[in-house]
């Protein structure tokens, strides 16, 4: 039952469908999730709202055995999705939750998550200093007093490129993703926030507005844009559409497109870069795929975190939540996460990794994160939605 709360195992679904009980099956999926999770809330239960690639079944099994708790999971894709789930389902449905960058502080401001006690998470001692307070502020409340989450994995939204087709010089600028020269050989993700934010970095650089006074009075943040900048983004994205092979929905698609040499450059979290470099190093015939973390106009970055929802009031449960964070942050588990999910970890696992892995997972480049703009919430989702729809229908 470790990760099946909202996703019954395929076999059961298939069986239901096979016996013709389609109506039954669909009724079961329509049932709101709280029904299911509350029904089984007998023993101590830890319910996590998390990214699917970070599930380590063996670790979870051992954790359940040690603490006599049940661990169940619900998955999400983008930050806004998790945010919507948390808001709609209420914090009583989840105990642990994951998010990126600025989102943690948003959660805290809205009372969705609670403060935690870092003293109960000794594994954090292994974290790279870049990811801990005061170097990294976003996992501490805005008044700087309460820790609200622990860093977990990190990455950029740099440009993975085919070095046989695109020069290192070209990827020095975001222009490479919008260049006529690469028509038909570009791809982008389907995430509207990051597409707009990345385009905004280029647009603001062209307009020279990054250094001028920003709408929120803070330093430049590609998630906070003026209407003129947004209009520029819209025009840029519409112009880019023609150049794209497709927007990749999953990493497998991007992997195929880059491996076959169809796509030369695409922004991504660097997982495909690692997969294809790994294949190339294993001797397979794969183009020379490289990754540029940050272009000269700027780049996007993210730090995943674990947080405890404000629904956790009971001290015993809070204790187990702390224990869970401590357990998953142990270097041996973080190494497994890196291997499985292909992401860089916030915990220093260099002693467990080969030189090759140190390079691929950017373990010696964590300080570069400083210059990246953290994933954030769009200043106006409504305006951004219109930009995205106009682009898609153009």
């Amino acid at each position: 039952m470790s990760n099946t709360t909202t996703r019954p195992p395929i076999s059961r679904r298939a069986l239901l469908k096979g016996t013709g009980a389609v109506a039954l099956a669909s009724a079961a999926t329509i049932l709101p999730t709280p029904f299911l999770s509350r029904a089984e809330a007998a023993t101590l239960q830890i319910r996590a709202l998390m990214w699917e690639p970070y599930v380590l079944p063996e670790m979870i099994a051992a954790f359940e055995a040690e603490h006599g708790a049940k661990f169940s999971t619900t998955f999400f894709d983008g930050n806004s999705e998790a945010y919507n789930k948390l808001k709609l389902g209420g914090t009583r449905d989840f105990d642990l939750v994951q998010a990126d960058g600025f989102w943690s502080r948003l959660y805290f401001r809205e009372g969705l998550i609670r403060d935690i006690d870092l003293a109960k998470i000794p594994s954090l001692a292994n974290a790279f200093p870049t990811f801990t307070y005061p170097d990294y502020e976003l996992l501490t409340s805005e008044d700087g007093k309460s820790p609200i989450g622990v860093p977990f994995c990190w990455g950029g939204y740099g440009i993975t490129y085919n070095a046989e087709q695109v020069t290192a010089d070209e990827v020095g600028s975001l222009e490479v993703l919008f260049s006529e020269k690469n028509a038909g050989h570009l791809s982008a993700s389907a995430r509207f926030e990051e597409n707009i934010a990345l385009a905004a970095i280029l647009v603001t650089a062209r307009m020279g507005t990054q250094g001028s006074a920003r709408p929120d009075g803070k330093p430049f943040n590609p998630y906070v844009l003026t209407d003129e900048e947004l209009a520029g983004v819209e025009a840029l994205l519409i112009a880019q559409k023609r150049l794209l092979t497709t927007r990749y929905q999953d990493l497998g698609t991007l992997n195929n497109l880059m491996r076959s040499g169809i796509v030369w450059a695409a922004p991504e979290f660097s997982q495909v870069y690692r997969q294809l470099q790994g294949m190339r190093r294993a001797g397979e015939t794969v183009p020379d795929i490289q990754h540029k973390l940050q272009a000269k106009e700027g780049g996007l970055g993210w730090i995943d975190s674990w947080m405890v929802t404000s629904g956790v009031e009971d001290s015993e449960k809070l204790e187990v939540c702390h224990k869970f964070m401590d357990t998953i942050l142990k270097p041996e588990h973080m190494k497994q996460i890196a291997d499985k999910a292909g992401t860089s970890t916030c915990i220093d696992i260099r002693s467990l990794s080969s030189d090759e892995e140190r390079e691929l997972f950017l373990m010696d480049r964590t300080t570069e994160l400083k210059g990246l703009h953290m994933f954030d919430q769009p200043s106006s989702p409504e305006k951004w939605e219109r930009v995205w729809s106009n682009m898609e229908s153009a």
Partner: protein, 298 residues
Amino acid sequence: MNRGLFQRWLRLNESQRFVILTSPVILFLTLFFVIPLASILLVSFWRTESYQLITDWNLQNYIDVLSEPSYRTFMIRSVLTALIVSITCVAIAWPVAYFVIRYGGRYKLLITLGLAVPFLTGIVLRVIALQGVLGPIGLVNLGLMKLGLPPIDALMYTKTATVVGLIYLYLPFVTTAIYLSLLNFNFRLLDAAKVFGAGNMRAFWEITWPLNWVGTVIGFALTFVPSLAESITPRFLGGADGTLYAMAMGSQFSATGTWSLGAAMGVVLFFVAGLTLLTISRLVNLKRAGFTGAGSRD
């Protein structure tokens, strides 16, 4: 005890019995249809601001959905796609179902069940499998490249790919609908038609087609409505320029958090689909389809 219940049942009048018999259905429909629909309707008259649902009543969402060119474009694309898909499905399913019925012999049930095999997997898996066939390094294009031929661009992340994918997904529904219709069709009527002067084609258009019109229309609707509301296939196969209405609608809920606008899009989609079904039902004259009330027999 049971006897007592039965006695009481007998004492009930017609309308009381009707209420008792239909209440589970009504309860089910209310729970899973009316309530969700009503809540969508409610939300569509509110608005969102930075992921907050604000409950001031307004029509702006509908004005946007109906007047903004982008949503109109999505709708036109979706309707056209659904039309092309359903008409093609009917055109393919007819000969398939016909030959299975006529020449399937004792294997015809097996062949028909075989059509349902892809349904043992989820829709995402099927779309991904299709990508494995049509995609850039899919079977078709790899095969072509092996032969030294250029890959077919038309099948790589285009609207055509979406149409092909949807046809693949919904063909079994239409085939089954037409198959079931033909299963109940008395093929000996064709003997009568031929004896009375009709050639094969004439007999088909005079007899087989009108008598299986209802099945055909049901198959058409079974494809048209879900195609109209399809978001996964265009997402995976449609490419950058292939966004369809339901895909845009879905992202209102999952990505942009503009639930109210999404809800209004949903209500509009509901009406378009309902209107389509109404139009389709107008095309069916049950008497002309061979169904006549058995009750009016004298």
